[in-house]
């Protein structure tokens, strides 16, 4: 596998400007001759599709929901970072860069992260111009809040619905292009394969989820903005439909998969209540601005929280990380919660919970201020738990939330497969081993509005692309394979439902490849996953037909991919013999239980290449070089 990250040389703050100036352009008149396929209509996909169409490219955009506005990005709550320094608290692109590299535990590329920090400011301007109703101060200026892993206030927000408002902004821009005929939108279509012709990505195969019809779409470049794979764990904060299918099938066609084991477990989610549980609900990290995390000092203390006096509480984040306190980064906060619960000091059913307490903030600021800041989150909490968080502390526990791993891309956001571009959560690019809060929205929109529209032009202008249409053999073959795979699910006729398999896989992954991992557990998972997969293929029960809306059939395809992908994740976790960010190997920790990185052997991106169904995948590396920031042990103490 050839991995050339194409990182520009030169001073950090000049890299992107110089690179951009050197990119080749497609003339305005020629743009309409190119057809770009964008899969995904989340922040990344919608912003890219709209921006490319505005430039004059012909664009087709696909999503599996019934409307592009329903992409998973809609659920982001807390906010989006930008180094505007509106608060005059010393923020800058350099500082955001440093925070992000350090937050990612030194496993991301300097050049990418600096670019992200630089363009972050443009995103806010663009969104304001679109009419996004960001929170404002009385003087009419934009308001900010703080998020984990930062000591400045750089997070912009729209109540607790920031993702919704940003996505609606991008969706409106996309709908405008749809109305103008510049984007053809395919809702309720699921990508089932990537089509590669002469070594270049030239199209996709999709299934119409209403009629079941398979169809092929050819283009000059393919862009995947298909989101993350947190649902490999079954329970996560992701939307139910979020999947790895598009990315995984691209991997099977030759795209490298980078750092699949880097998953983020978010510290503040509503704990599991029973085995019917279908998903987990995030309580935004922004709550940690005003909420204090604690558990009882004593083990097995079953008193009601109000009956536990101050002196018998352990505000463990404030105790262990005094300079960041409740705003310690996610990986650290999650692990600390797990430790407290493992120590028998957890609260709520099964002892799997910690308190997030607003009493002090309510006493200081008044209930109205807290309601204004977090009202919808408090309502959501009350809905789900039947408890009133204005009166009793919330109970929270970590849950799978985000995946830093993804398809490998170079500085131009192109995978090792020419023509295949990957943006947003689906790529691996900017967050290293741990993502800071409010940085996913920033990255998705940076990719879609301000990076890809330039770099894709360079690809199109630099390559002579032979005309290809869907009558090409590669399309016929891929379409037939997709059809056969779909029919195969229906023919098994076993006894177990898709969900029951998905649950079992998820439980296994949570136990063996979740918040803490070790060699024995990962090896066990690597034995058990193939067994479960074999049972899946021999005992799955999917009813109905393939020529109609069949939600179990859709799920079967996604779970089949998770069954293979889970193995790749465990393999990656096993081979990475160090702890960094969200990847915590219990064998590699410091005396006081912090992650122990091994920069000498693992300061690289692990990129996995598919070698066919009967051979193990191969592990390649992209070495990470730190020219501008010194590798250091992360400390939030």
């Amino acid at each position: 596998m050839h991995l050339d990250a194409k990182l520009p040389a030169g001073p950090l703050d000049a890299k992107w400007a110089r690179h951009r100036a050197a990119l080749r352009l497609v003339s305005p008149a020629n743009k309409r001759k190119y057809h770009v396929i964008v899969v995904g209509s989340g922040l990344a996909g919608a912003s890219a599709a709209a921006s490319l169409a505005e430039l004059g490219y012909q664009v087709s955009c696909f999503c599996f929901q019934d409307s592009p506005r329903r992409a998973h990005s809609i659920a982001a709550q807390g906010g989006i970072n930008a180094a505007k320094n509106y608060q005059n608290d010393g923020d800058s692109a350099e500082r955001l860069f440093t925070d992000t590299i350090k937050g990612g535990d030194f496993r991301s590329r300097e050049a990418n992260v600096y670019r992200l920090s630089e363009v972050s400011v443009n995103i806010i301007d663009q969104c304001v111009a679109q009419g996004v109703p960001f929170a404002r101060e009385y003087g009419g200026m934009l308001a900010n809040r703080s998020f984990g892993g930062a000591q400045v206030s750089r997070t912009f927000y729209a109540r607790g619905q920031t993702g919704q408002q940003l996505l609606i902004g991008a969706y409106q821009a996309l709908e405008r292009q749809i109305g103008l005929g510049a984007v053809k939108m395919y809702e309720r279509h699921e990508m089932l394969d990537l089509v590669v012709v002469d070594g270049k990505a030239r199209g996709i195969v999709v299934r119409d989820l209403i009629t079941g019809e398979m169809s092929s779409h050819a283009g000059d470049a393919v862009v995947l903005g298909t989101g993350g794979y947190g649902n490999v764990f079954y329970l996560s904060t992701n939307a139910k439909g979020s999947n790895v299918t598009a990315a995984f099938r691209a991997y099977k066609r030759g795209a490298g998969f980078a750092n699949p084991c880097f998953t983020q477990i978010h510290p503040t989610c509503i704990p599991v209540s029973g085995d019917y549980q279908s998903k987990l609900t995030l309580m935004s990290e922004s709550l940690r601005n005003d909420g204090r995390v604690w558990v009882p000092l004593k083990q097995g203390d079953t008193r009601a929280p109000g009956d536990i006096p101050e002196a018998e509480r352990d505000y463990y984040l404030e105790r262990k990380y005094p300079s960041y306190g409740n705003l310690a980064p996610r990986d650290i906060s999650s692990r600390a919660a797990k430790e407290a619960c493992d120590d028998g000091r957890g609260v709520g059913p099964g002892g799997r919970g910690v308190y997030l307490d607003f009493a002090a903030a309510i006493a200081r600021l008044g209930e109205d201020t807290i309601r204004e800041r977090y009202g919808n989150l408090f309502d959501m909490y009350a809905q789900i738990t039947g408890e009133n968080p204005y009166k009793v502390p919330m109970r929270i526990y970590p849950a799978v939330h985000y995946t830093m791993g993804g398809l490998w891309v170079d500085y131009n956001l192109m995978s090792n497969l020419p023509g295949l571009h990957v943006i947003g959560e689906a790529n691996f690019s900017d967050h290293g081993a741990n993502r800071l809060g409010a940085s996913a929205l920033m990255q998705g929109l940076a990719d879609g509005y301000f990076v890809l529209p330039y770099t894709i032009g360079d690809y199109l202008a630099s390559n002579k692309l032979a005309p290809v249409d869907t009558s090409h053999d590669a399309f016929r073959v891929a379409e037939a394979e997709a059809k056969a795979a779909t029919d195969r699910f229906l023919a098994i006729n076993g006894t177990r439902t898709v969900d029951s398999f998905h649950r079992e896989l998820g439980q296994l992954m949570w136990e063996k490849c979740g918040m803490a991992r070790d060699r024995a557990g990962l090896e066990e998972a690597l034995r058990r996953i193939p067994e479960l997969r074999a049972e899946f293929w021999s005992n799955l029960k999917v009813l109905g037909t393939s020529d109609s809306l069949n939600q179990s059939l859709e799920k079967a395809g996604r779970v089949a991919d998770y069954m293979e992908f889970a193995e790749l994740m465990c393999r990656d976790a096993l081979e990475r013999e160090e702890s960094c960010g969200g990847h915590f190997r219990t064998e590699y920790q410091t005396a006081d239980g912090e992650a122990l990185r091994d920069d000498a052997h693992f300061a690289h991106v692990a990129v996995w290449g598919y070698e066919g169904p009967d051979a193990p995948p191969t592990r390649h590396r992209e070495e990470l070089e730190f020219e501008f920031i010194k590798l250091a042990t992360r400390s939030y103490k």
Partner: protein
């Protein structure tokens, strides 16, 4: 944790042109389950018995994507105000209840299967004008134009719409006025939305009519059904916007001094 036994009467329809009918199913639940989790359990049972599961739209399951769309005992999103179906919990029901579950019913939202309907007309209303025409590029600094907090808060109240279509399903006229007005009002309150204010409302209202949605005769059912409690005041504001735009539109100059 109290267990309850329920009887569901669910609309089953094999496809857009197939006839549909209610079918009864027993269900059991506990108070901590969400309504959709209760249906998940029913679906697992159905499949085990060899019957195809009930199809329904859902994705985020936290009340923000606008996918879920069930009429429960005659009310879109069920009996509890201010929540979506996915946020409705079984503690709102009691042992022995019969629960009738139907899809959104509106001429503009044809049923695709069981409880799944086609809501694409809502997207087309947005495509007609529900945006600010600002291509990606280099707009002014985000703080260049101050926005009064009151305006941005009110805009946010309207922009909180999740596009689920419950307002249409609740309205005896199957009108999309609440949905359309929420977008018109959101954008008309922002300074950035001013240049296109007139053409926007005209285009969106026109698209709404073309999609076959009914008119508004002030039943107010839409607001009652809206999981985000979008106010019918938006409809009044949109009517004013529409009037204003119509007057402007006659020759491009404002006719009525002092309107807004």
């Amino acid at each position: 944790m109290s267990d309850m036994k329920l009887t569901l009467k669910v609309w089953r329809q094999a496809g857009p042109s197939a006839p549909g009918a209610f079918k009864s199913y027993p269900a059991s639940a506990n108070e901590h389950m969400s309504f959709l989790e209760m249906l998940d359990v029913v679906n697992e049972d159905l499949q085990e018995q060899g019957e195809e599961p009930i199809a329904f739209d859902h994705d985020c399951r936290e009340g923000i994507c606008g996918s879920c769309s069930l009429v429960i005992n005659g009310s879109p999103h069920g009996p509890k105000g201010g929540v979506t179906t996915c946020q409705l919990h079984m503690r709102s029901f009691k042992n022995g209840d019969e629960i009738v579950i139907e899809p959104w019913r509106a001429k503009s939202f044809p049923v695709l299967r069981d409880l799944v309907v086609d809501r694409s007309p809502l997207d087309r209303i947005i495509a007609a004008g529900g945006f600010i025409s600002v291509p990606t590029g280099a707009p002014p600094d985000g703080n260049a134009i101050p926005v009064a907090k009151e305006d941005s808060d009110r805009a946010m109240d309207a922009a909180a719409c999740i596009g689920c279509g419950a307002c249409v399903a609740a309205c005896p006229n199957a009108s999309a006025m609440l949905f359309t007005s929420a977008k018109v009002v959101h954008l008309s309150l922002m300074p950035q939305g001013q240049p296109e204010r007139n053409r926007r409302v005209l285009a969106m209202v026109n698209a709404m009519d073309e999609e076959g949605f009914g008119g508004c005769t002030n039943y107010g059912e839409c607001q009652a059904a809206c999981p985000k409690e979008i106010s019918v005041e938006n409809i009044a504001l949109m009517n004013r916007e529409f009037l204003r735009a119509t007057l402007h539109d006659r020759d491009g100059a404002p006719r009525v001094a002092g309107t807004m």
